[in-house]
């Protein structure tokens, strides 16, 4: 309570003045809190402003058609080419490898924990999974380059020291906890009465899980997959460390290749003058990355609206 307790204010005018002050103080606090909430909008505006303004300068020098169709990415060479598809291919191939691991594994773990495991197993496994979700990606990058690649080379003798495959597989393991944890939450939210309805028909656990629980939780599952895709597309360090950084237009995971993110890292590691075309390329690449992420998120929100849970 403020020092001047309203009980001490005997004059009506005093009390009105006190109330007015209280009122203004409340308004001021509300304005400060609103400003804090607005920081998130400013962040978005800042991101859009930086990416778009630098990209505009970039596209003043490079045509959009070349950017989208050129098959070479050599922005720092004398004979400069700016074909973003080179970087996009690396991003898509590594993401595909990662999701090919993470979506099936994450979903199976989620179904197992939600429908099969008894509560003690779940209570231990769930926090451990959450813990794994917090491992820094640079540590995974180290693991991909120095542990997983040698093991893979043992199985696949032709595999080079840097590859999208190795980075993608480790990225997949990194994403498993997110998908498993979110999908499990979605399936646990399906009411028990729905499962009872299926069991009462004589269905087994797996049949119930696949035919009733998964369809009922489908929008939650889709959301977890979209998050997984966002993670894979935006992942940087694992690729920068283990996939090599040379631009390479390829759809073969056995090859090394740069991704959008690892290219940005590579440029940032060097010393490019502010305002040069090389400096602008990372913003054009960043804008492309943001648009790809945005695309998946819009798709995710559409899926959510389309399959809203109606139990």
């Amino acid at each position: 309570m403020p020092a001047n307790n309203p009980g001490d204010l005997h004059q009506v005018s005093d009390r009105l003045a006190y109330n007015a002050m209280r009122h203004w103080k409340e308004r001021l606090i509300e304005a400060v809190l609103l400003a804090a909430a607005a920081v998130s909008v400013l962040t978005t505006l800042g991101i859009v402003y930086v990416l778009v303004s630098e990209s505009i300068s970039f596209f003043a020098n490079v045509s959009i058609v070349d950017f989208l169709t050129d098959t070479q990415w050599t922005p720092l060479f004398d004979d400069a080419h700016f074909g973003i598809m080179v970087l996009v291919s690396g991003t898509l191939v590594s993401s595909f490898v990662a999701l090919a691991v993470a979506i099936p594994m994450g979903t199976i773990i989620a179904i197992y924990l939600s429908e099969f495991a008894d509560s003690r197993v779940r209570e231990v496994a769930k926090p451990i999974l959450e813990l794994l979700g917090g491992i820094p990606t640079i540590v995974f990058g180290y693991f991909a380059l120095l542990v997983v690649t040698p093991i893979l080379q043992f199985v696949l003798p032709g595999l080079p020291g840097f590859s999208l495959l190795s980075a993608g597989l480790v990225m997949g393991i990194m994403i498993v906890p997110y998908i498993a944890s979110l999908s499990e939450d979605a399936m646990r939210a399906v009411p028990m009465s729905m499962r009872e309805g299926s069991y009462a028909m004589g269905a087994t656990k797996l049949y119930t899980a696949v035919h009733v629980v998964v369809p009922a939780a489908i929008s939650g599952l889709a959301a977890s997959y979209i998050l997984g895709i966002s993670r894979a597309v935006g992942e940087t360090m694992i690729l920068a460390v283990a996939a090599g950084m040379q631009p390479n237009l390829t759809w073969n995971p056995m090859e090394p290749a740069a991704t959008i993110t690892s290219y940005i890292v590579q440029v940032a590691l060097g010393d490019l003058p502010h305002g040069s075309i090389g400096y602008q390329t990372i913003f054009a690449a960043g804008l492309t990355l943001l648009l790809i992420t945005l695309l998946f998120n819009i798709l995710g929100q559409w899926l959510r609206a389309r399959f809203r849970e109606n139990y």
Binding site: V39, V139, V147, G202, G234
Partner: protein
């Protein structure tokens, strides 16, 4: 219509149960595999890095000779960057969460802020690095400093803190609010004396998870152009600085720096295998920091769930 005979039913059931058990085995295998990978990761770093777990490793600067290199500038840098991040993100995040739960009216502005926060959480971290490079480093002239890095990571973890603040506040029943307002408290007094204290454990959980995420982030810090070879510490307040002057209280925020993940990245990308040992040891230290922070947060959350309900 001829119903199935008992034997036919038993065959159907036996098939179903076989599939159940098969799936169970696959599920256990997947779970065990995911855990095994992590165990392998930790074991590899511990075994490879074992020879570096000495006091010198923590007290030495980075060096060209692997055996003498240490992580002093890296862990000091990480702590200082985290300090800036926490000082910026915690008040902003809690204030924003409080506004959205306790003050906001249902209008287009609130909707915009909410949609915006959801979408920001999905923006790749390297994009925050580009934002910081354009705005903090060049526009604001903060350069490649602890301040730039701290603010960048603050923006990155802001959605995490806002969301956990909101969840913590939402768990407080309306009667607490009504009880406070009914005795004449203003909205702010209600927040200050009731809502914030009750939501504290939940907010704290979010803050720890956010900081654990920030301390392991590499990409945005590389993007702002943080140097990778730093063999000095930021100036301690009131000590002698270069040119005989005395360092001011806040000079360190503008200092160049390195952090743990960048040090690891640096060592990992060296062709000389001797540095692998350093990378393993530093990786283990970083992972121990992150995992213990997360473990505290998860413990707090589970404890809160078990606490007496209102």
């Amino acid at each position: 219509m001829q119903p199935l005979t008992t034997d036919e039913i038993r065959i159907v059931i036996a098939k179903g149960k076989f599939r159940d058990n098969l799936f169970k085995a696959v599920g256990i295998f997947c779970l065990a595999f995911a855990l095994l990978v992590i165990v392998a990761l930790i074991a590899d770093m511990v075994i490879k890095g074992a020879e570096r777990f000495t006091l010198d490793f923590f007290l030495n600067f980075a060096s060209r000779r692997a055996a003498q290199a240490g992580i002093l500038s890296a862990w000091v840098g990480s702590l200082l960057v985290m300090l800036v991040t926490a000082l910026a993100a915690v008040p902003l995040g809690v204030a924003a969460g409080l506004y959205l739960e306790e003050y906001a009216k249902r209008n287009w502005l609130t909707n915009l802020i909410e949609i915006n926060i959801t979408n920001l959480a999905a923006v790749p971290s390297i994009v925050y690095g580009l934002l910081a490079l354009g705005i903090f480093v060049y526009q604001f002239g903060f350069g490649q400093s602890i301040l730039s890095a701290g603010l960048t990571l603050a923006l990155l973890i802001l959605p995490i803190i806002i969301v956990s603040t909101r969840e913590a506040i939402r768990a407080i029943p309306a009667m607490i609010r009504e009880g406070s307002m009914a005795v004449g408290a203003t909205r702010w007094q209600t927040c200050r004396y009731h809502i914030i204290p009750y939501a504290m454990p939940g907010i704290l959980t979010g803050v720890i998870i956010g900081l654990a995420r920030a301390i392991g982030e590499t990409a945005p810090i590389i993007t702002i152009g943080a140097l990778t070879f730093i063999a000095f510490l930021p100036p301690l307040p009131f000590t002698a600085a270069e040119g005989g002057a005395t360092a001011g209280l806040f000079d360190w925020v503008m200092s160049p720096f390195t952090v743990m993940p960048i040090q690891i990245f640096n060592w990992t990308s060296r062709p000389d295998p001797a540095f692998e040992v350093n990378a393993a040891a530093a990786g283990f230290v970083l992972m121990a920091m992150v995992l213990s922070m997360n473990a505290v947060a998860i413990y707090l959350r589970y404890k809160m769930r078990k606490r007496i309900k209102w």
